[in-house]
Amino acid sequence: MRFLIYRYNPETDAKPYMQAYDLDIDAGNMMLLDAILLIKAQDETLSVRRSCREGVCGSDAMNINGRNGLACVTPLSELKEPIELRPLPGQPVVRDLVVDLSQFYKQYRSIKPYLINGDPEPEIERLQSPEDREELDGLYECILCACCSTSCPSFWWNPDKFVGPAGLLQAYRFIADSRDQATAERLDNLEDPYRLFRCHSIMTCVDVCPKGLNPTRAIGKIKEMLLKRTV
């Protein structure tokens, strides 16, 4: 199988280039990451992040034949050759398939991604009904792989000002939590022409999320809450 992989080593390369690799393998049940590891065994200069190899840690997000995804849960058999691998778009490239995600993490931190509840702590758990808990499904499962935010044109243009789909999904995860008491503060934090409203519902985030989550819906709910608040 033929692979075309984006290569860039800032120490030696004036500019990036695509390198071809051929593997004599049968796609079978192999995942893309398996093939990348075989290539890495041949050519140890290729840099890529990877950890869990089962789609829960979010390390090996990359652009695969033009679409963001996780290499470890992308079946080789579903990919057209030559398989083109590029780093996540719109982020500074550190080397090869490794990008600098500082802006992404900074936006995540900016939404205060932790439960805020000023009540005295009970000696048992804070109670939550199964229905209230269900509100968190489709939100808490985010693995911070950055597939969504780095496929979003609004995030490409304004990564310093627009929170991006991943951060906004998490903002709503805490707004939606019946145990959280900071909804007003969280909405204030997002009421801004850029932080939230740069989302134009292009929905590439929904399309690429490897966990099947829907940031656009979460963003819509935040917008709705802001609208209700002003009425």
Partner: protein
């Protein structure tokens, strides 16, 4: 080479569940704490934990920590230290409630309390009926826990060295830990992180084996660092084979599947665990279930063309339960086995999953080792927590859902002890000349050597040898041959050379440094396993099929210097209750 220095009150190596829990305790005490992690913290292997975390909350059935303690002692095949087990089980409720208060999104019961499910070996009334003790977030409990702890650390303003690879502990001549030298993966530059307390929380090392549920990052870095500092590793012969790894892929399927009512069948469709464990059946402890599966496969009752796996049946649970309680498993099964468990059983094999042994510690997480003057003393300023530590609560076999508990109970306990220790040791100790030399020599070695075999080649030899010679069933001949081979493989390390000597984000160099660590841990495992001439928990020998309490009710200690073994007694005396005396173990 000059080396940058950063100074903190405490440094934690590893950003998984144990490391982040300890970091939180220290940050809440207004200490300057740094976490060094070779991956962004939420990429740590805790994220892969599925089924849940044990605590005798009794939200569904009557329960108490005495029963949990008994189950854990029995599960450990009596090798666990009963003071540590009492400590963990007593603290479990508080530790789990604390996670809920931190914001962890536990599943809920109709009354609003935390949802609990049955798990292997967890019973009521000292070995009676199965109890619902395992607190769960669907089948993504580790993910929810790790993200919650990371989020709390953001709030607490913990300092993170993200993507820094720890090279070696820095110690002085009096045996105090002074911090750690780490390599910035992106910059390729080393940094000395000085701290009055150093905590090792680097997790497991399943990658010494060829087939494992462990993440690719689980290379035993902290264990090898300890070995290089002259600290022994305890009970390294005990590696848990999880009964249900997806055949071929090695990806884990939680025991929670069997907790929710799933069961194993052989090629005849027989629910074979009824023969091996008439009471607990599929919810017997993991060593028992894995051995039963291996016997079924060995005797020709495996499924598939090559009769080399058994099947995990859960379609009878119905789509509702599978979608609500086991959605992650369904996703993994669809992706890695191309099977929808709502319709068909999942092919599974016992797969290396968890290391019961590790760096010996006391209940406060302090690293302990034998001294010339006494049986055991703390290494001052040095702590180990989580899977890399051996306190020992899991003994010869860990019960499912006790590992997440171990992380937070001992992460917190170590944090609390560090706070006191730092009060008594308010100033950094002088760093002796040459204390950083070992780290710099490690880096230089990989820079200097230009020709030789590849990292990948030697790593593969190691992992295949470990798989073949240190598997579910072990014999003297297989083990001794394994020791010989592993010594030969380790001796080839100086022949390995890098092709890539660049600085920036050189993952080839990181894998070479990891290989050094893996080899140290593999040798410790192989040599400890060859020495133990009995069957206990996960260590099963065909030639010594019985547990031998008169000779082997003791912990092993492996020192890398001369590959020497020592032993220490099991602490059978709990903190406040009567001992559970070793007896025959049936489920």
């Amino acid at each position: 080479m000059s080396i940058a220095k950063r100074t903190f009150d405490a440094v934690i190596i590893g950003g998984g569940g144990a490391g982040l829990r300890a970091a939180l305790q220290l940050a809440h005490a207004d200490l300057k704490v740094a976490v060094v992690s070779k991956v962004f913290p939420t990429r740590s292997h805790t994220v892969s934990a599925q089924g849940g975390i044990a605590a005798s909350l009794g939200n569904v059935n009557e329960d108490n920590w005495h029963w949990h303690m008994y189950d854990t002692v029995k599960g450990s095949d009596y090798l666990g230290d009963q003071d540590a087990i009492e400590f963990m089980c007593r603290q479990a409720n508080e530790a789990v409630i604390e996670l809920e208060h931190f914001g962890m999104p536990f599943d809920r019961l109709p009354n609003g309390k935390i949802y609990q499910r049955p798990f292997g070996g967890m019973t009521q009334n000292y070995g009676g009926t199965p109890v619902m003790r395992t607190c769960a977030v669907a089948d993504r409990t580790g993910h929810a826990m790790l993200h919650t702890l990371y989020q709390r650390n953001i709030a607490a303003k913990t300092h993170f060295f993200e993507e820094y690879f720890a090279l070696d502990l820095v110690m002085d001549d009096h045996g105090y830990a002074l911090g750690v030298v780490a390599l910035g993966i992106e910059s390729g530059e080393p940094v000395f992180i000085e701290a009055r307390a150093t905590l090792i929380a680097t997790g497991g090392a399943g990658r010494i084996f060829n087939a494992t549920t462990n993440a690719l990052i689980n290379t035993g870095d902290g264990l090898a660092m300890a070995l290089r500092a002259g600290i022994p590793l305890e009970d390294m012969e005990f590696w848990q084979f999880h009964p249900t790894g997806i055949a071929g892929a090695g990806v884990l399927v939680t025991e929670g599947v069997r907790g929710e009512g799933g069961y194993l069948v052989n090629k005849n469709g027989e629910r074979f665990m009824e023969r091996y464990a008439p009471n607990a059946k599929d919810l017997a402890s993991r060593d028992v279930v894995s051995r039963a599966m291996a016997v079924e496969i060995h005797e020709g009752r495996g499924c598939g063309r090559d009769s080399d796996y058994v099947e995990l049946k859960l379609d009878h649970l119905g789509p509702e339960v599978i979608r609500q309680r086991l959605p992650g498993i369904r996703e993994l099964s669809l992706k890695f086995a191309h099977i929808d468990p709502i319709e068909a059983p999942i092919p599974v094999v016992p797969t290396v999953h968890y290391m019961m042994g590790g760096i010996p510690t006391n209940l406060q997480g302090q690293v302990v080792m034998p001294t010339q003057t006494g049986p055991e003393e703390a290494v001052l300023g040095l702590y180990a927590i989580g899977e890399c530590a051996c306190v020992s609560v899991h003994g010869a076999n860990r019960l499912g859902s006790n590992s997440l508990l171990d992380l937070i109970v001992f992460g917190r306990a170590a944090g609390n002890h560090v706070i006191e220790y730092l009060k008594e040791n308010p100033f950094p100790r002088p760093v002796p000349d040459g204390a950083l030399d070992r780290s710099m020599a490690r880096l230089a070695r990989w820079d200097d050597k230009r020709d030789g075999i590849t990292v990948d080649e030697l790593r593969e030899q190691m992992s295949k040898t470990m798989q073949k010679h240190c598997g579910v069933f072990r014999t003297e001949e297989v083990l001794q041959e394994g020791v010989k081979k592993m010594l030969e493989i380790a001796a080839r390390l100086p022949d390995v050379a890098l092709r890539d000597h660049s600085r920036i984000y050189n993952t080839g160099r990181i894998e070479a440094l990891e290989l050094e660590n893996l080899l140290g841990v593999a040798l410790a495992t192989m040599i400890s396993a060859a020495a133990r001439k009995e069957s206990r928990g996960a260590h099963a020998r065909d030639d010594y099929p019985q547990r031998d309490d008169s000779n082997w009710l003791k912990h092993s200690l492996y020192f890398s210097d001369g590959h020497r073994l020592d032993f220490k007694p099991v602490r059978l005396k709990p903190l406040s209750v009567d001992s559970f005396q070793p007896k025959a173990r049936t489920y």
